[in-house]
């Protein structure tokens, strides 16, 4: 019995909690990509760099607050600095939309042109971020490190394995839940949100019924900037801020959005968790779990790992390919907001 509990705690500590955290980050990122797809109808390659841009300003805000001696107690100060990051990312997104995307939208350019434009912007924003803050690692986490530390857990339960929950993990999951709930409330209950969904569903009909397209686009970019900053900040708090790793996030985020069904917010969230869980589950070394669950004296020789951790990125891609083959519209099919 204790062996079973130990195995479960082990899985919880190294598989479930990290996957939930990473999944929340991906879900928020994929939500942004899906919004752009639903309303503006292209895959936004610049999303990862927008995340980095927003996070960068959050970091500046954090440093500013820290030098003023302001802190959020046990919570990371970065949460207080989020509004600054959000404002910066929104300003950037809206500015780039007005100066770059708008021209192509008015000419009714094909989605591929938008995609190329977004890659151009990706390098532009990426260059900007590396220029301002540099390509190196920035750790901006402060506050209490653990909510439950492994040692406390062991003492409390008497088990051999400990379940540690980091503050960043709790903050990520709670924030993600709040943001997603707010998002759905906005899309489903408010007039503006409804007009966005209508626009995404059928552009011509929406225009006919008097919905202002410029306003819809503006609000979309505001939401995208907000989501990108929140996702980026949570990721940066949990791991660390490095511009390059934000570029690497692009593929898992796209995979999440497509797996869930591009343009479908609910799908983006489900996709984020699917991708995160499978990435970690496939590259997890089950050796200790197997040891706990199997009879005494039997110990597997290898790590009992399906795929080396180096191939994490391959997992999201393989899932993407499977979905493209089996169900190209994604789990929650359809392209509605």
């Amino acid at each position: 019995m204790t062996d079973l509990l130990n195995a479960l705690v082990l899985l919880g500590n190294f598989l479930v909690v990290p996957s939930l955290t990473y999944g929340s980050q991906l879900a928020l990122g994929a939500l942004g990509v899906t919004l752009v797809y639903g309303v503006l109808r292209f895959s936004n390659f610049a999303h990862g760099e927008t995340m980095a841009f927003g996070t960068m300003f959050t970091i500046f805000g954090t440093w500013g607050l820290q030098s003023l001696g302001v802190s959020a107690g046990p919570l990371p100060t970065a949460l207080l600095a989020l509004p600054l990051g959000i404002a910066a990312a929104v300003a950037l997104s809206v500015l780039l939309d007005k100066s770059v995307y708008k021209y192509h939208r008015e000419r009714k350019a094909s989605p591929v042109i938008f995609l190329i434009v977004s890659i151009g912007l990706m390098f532009f924003i990426g260059g900007l971020v590396r220029f301002i803050i540099g390509p190196g690692d920035q750790i901006f986490f402060d506050g209490t490190r653990f909510i439950i530390s492994a040692r406390d857990f062991k003492q409390a339960t008497g088990l051999e394995e400990g379940l540690a929950i980091k503050m960043t993990q709790a903050v990520t999951i709670v924030t993600a839940v709040i943001v997603v709930a707010a998002m759905f409330w906005f899309l489903n209950k408010t007039r503006t949100g409804k007009s966005m969904r209508a626009f995404s569903d059928n552009e011509n009909l929406a225009l006919l019924s008097g919905i202002n397209p410029d306003r819809v686009v503006l609000i979309t970019w505001i939401l995208v900037g907000t989501l990108a900053t929140v996702a980026g900040t949570l990721y940066g708090l949990d791991k660390s801020f490095k511009p390059f790793s934000y570029m690497q996030l692009l593929l898992p985020i796209f995979a999440s959005a497509i797996v869930g069904g591009v343009g479908n917010p609910l799908g983006a969230i489900a996709g984020g968790y699917v991708i995160a869980f499978s990435e970690i589950a496939v590259t997890f070394a089950y050796k200790k779990v197997v040891t706990y669950l199997s009879p005494e004296s039997f110990e597997p020789e290898s790590l009992v790992q399906l795929l080396g951790t180096d191939y994490k990125i391959a997992v999201s891609f393989i899932i993407l390919v499977i979905v493209l083959i089996v169900r190209p519209t994604g789990i929650f099919s359809g392209k509605t907001l």
Partner: protein, 444 residues
């Protein structure tokens, strides 16, 4: 009058301008530098031709250029390096059995898929089962052999080696490798929404790069493969040959410098042969009924489908051909470098550069894409000295160790990518047809 002269002779004028730029570098920075730039320009031009086939002829967006180029580089290693006998004895058979199991798994799963094709849900589970069994079985043979191979003299070899064949053979083989990967990707992603291909190619190129970085038994991974055989003579041999010493004296140069220039000229000659051949084929294809069909499909898929063209199949073919050209260029690049460095392939950056070449040069026009390859590579290389000089000049009023000045100097490399991004955005907006626009029947 002047303008009409330019518009009538646009292509020769622009190419002459490009040649002039190279000559300026030759006079200013030395002929050896100019020839190095020229060689890489030629390779970039071939990659740009490959991308142009996909984008210009067919409107397919491939974000995985570097992945395909890396496969070409891998081909160069596998074809030309001498085999490591010891490693092949240690683990060759295990790897072979593992490979056979892999192939058998693929065939078995397609077979199962055909048999159970009608009941989808059963078929999925059956295929899943077959793959799981194949994977587990393959690993039993694979992993011990990998360890055995990597244990053989790890500081020098630790990998299987190649076939020891002439490296020129690797060029078509590299094309084949890339074509194979492109076929698989095309099968999955073509026929769906257009951006799925972009995302799928991004994914496959990332995986190829992770693969060649991590599978040390095949590629030595981050330890790099050095000293690939050359298709041209070595400088050291040239310097000792009597005829060459005579030649150097005729050129009026020191022997060492002359030998380096001679070797680069040899490479340039080989590359020019390839590019001329490709150009001939590409131009002939574009002017043929096939080329017109491809452009018709690009411009209106629905209409072409209504005329009975199999759009997805045509897209698949052109995607495979274009990727093969990129793969070949990748093999040529590795040949020129003389070493295979998996870390050097930065998936998005260089892919993006090739894209900018095609768009600036003129998508849909082979001469344009080639010129773009020359032009953008030239400025990519020369941007660093120009950028540093510019920053130096702009901040010359500051003290030498002023933090802002140092920061700007450090960031020059990032500014380069940013500039290319801005160049692309400006080009897409203000001259989307590029330097040498595509020739269309109606305009002419």
């Amino acid at each position: 009058m002047n303008q009409s002269f330019f518009s009538r002779n646009r292509v020769p004028v622009l190419y002459a301008g490009m040649a002039l730029l190279l000559v300026i570098v030759g006079v200013g920075q030395g002929w050896s530098v100019a020839l190095s730039i020229l060689n890489l320009c030629l390779i970039s031009a071939i990659m740009a031709l490959g991308v142009n086939m996909q984008w210009g002829y067919a409107g397919l967006f491939n974000v995985g250029v570097m992945g395909f180029a890396a496969l070409g580089g891998l081909a160069a290693v596998l074809v030309s390096m001498p085999p490591v006998d010891e490693a092949q004895v240690a683990g060759g058979s295990g790897i072979l059995i593992g490979m056979l199991i892999l192939v058998a798994t693929v065939f078995a799963s397609t077979f199962v898929w055909r048999v159970f094709g009608k009941k989808k849900s059963t078929a999925y589970w059956m295929v899943f089962g077959v793959i799981a069994v194949g994977y587990a079985l393959g690993r039993v043979f694979f992993l011990p052999s990998v360890d055995a191979i990597e244990a053989v003299n790890p500081s020098v070899s630790g990998y299987l080696g190649g076939l020891g064949l002439p490296i020129l053979l690797a060029w078509p083989v590299g094309g084949l490798f890339a074509a194979g990967a492109a076929y698989v990707i095309g099968k999955v992603a073509l026929g769906l929404r257009s951006d799925y291909l972009a995302i799928a190619t991004l994914g496959i190129s990332e995986i190829i790069l992770y693969f060649i970085k991590n599978e040390e038994w095949l590629t030595r991974g981050v330890k790099n493969v050095n000293g690939l055989p050359r298709p041209v003579p070595y400088e050291v041999d040239l310097q000792q040959a009597a005829w060459f010493q005579q030649l150097a004296a005729d050129w009026g140069m020191p022997v060492t410098e002359a030998s380096s220039i001679f070797v680069k000229l040899c490479y340039a000659g080989l590359f020019i042969v390839v590019i001329a051949l490709l150009m001939y084929l590409a131009e002939t294809a574009l002017k043929s009924p096939w080329g017109r069909m491809m452009r018709a499909i690009r411009d209106n898929e629905t209409a072409s489908a209504a005329m009975g063209k199999d759009v997805v199949k045509r897209h698949l073919i052109i995607f495979v051909i274009g990727s093969a050209v990129i793969g070949m260029a990748g093999a040529m690049l590795t040949t020129l470098d003389g070493q295979f460095t998996p870390v050097g392939y930065q998936p998005l950056r260089f892919t993006f550069l090739i894209w900018v070449m095609v768009i600036i040069g003129g998508s849909g026009n082979n001469w344009g894409a080639m010129l773009g390859g020359f032009f953008i590579w030239f400025f990519w290389i020369e941007a660093e000295p120009i950028g540093l000089w510019l920053i130096d000049a702009l901040t010359s009023f500051m003290e030498n160790d002023h933090p802002l000045r140092l920061h700007l100097m450090d960031s020059a490399a990032h500014m380069r990518l940013m500039t290319v991004g801005i160049v692309l955005l400006v080009a897409l907006r203000y001259f989307p047809t590029g330097l040498i626009p595509e020739k269309t029947a109606r305009k002419a």
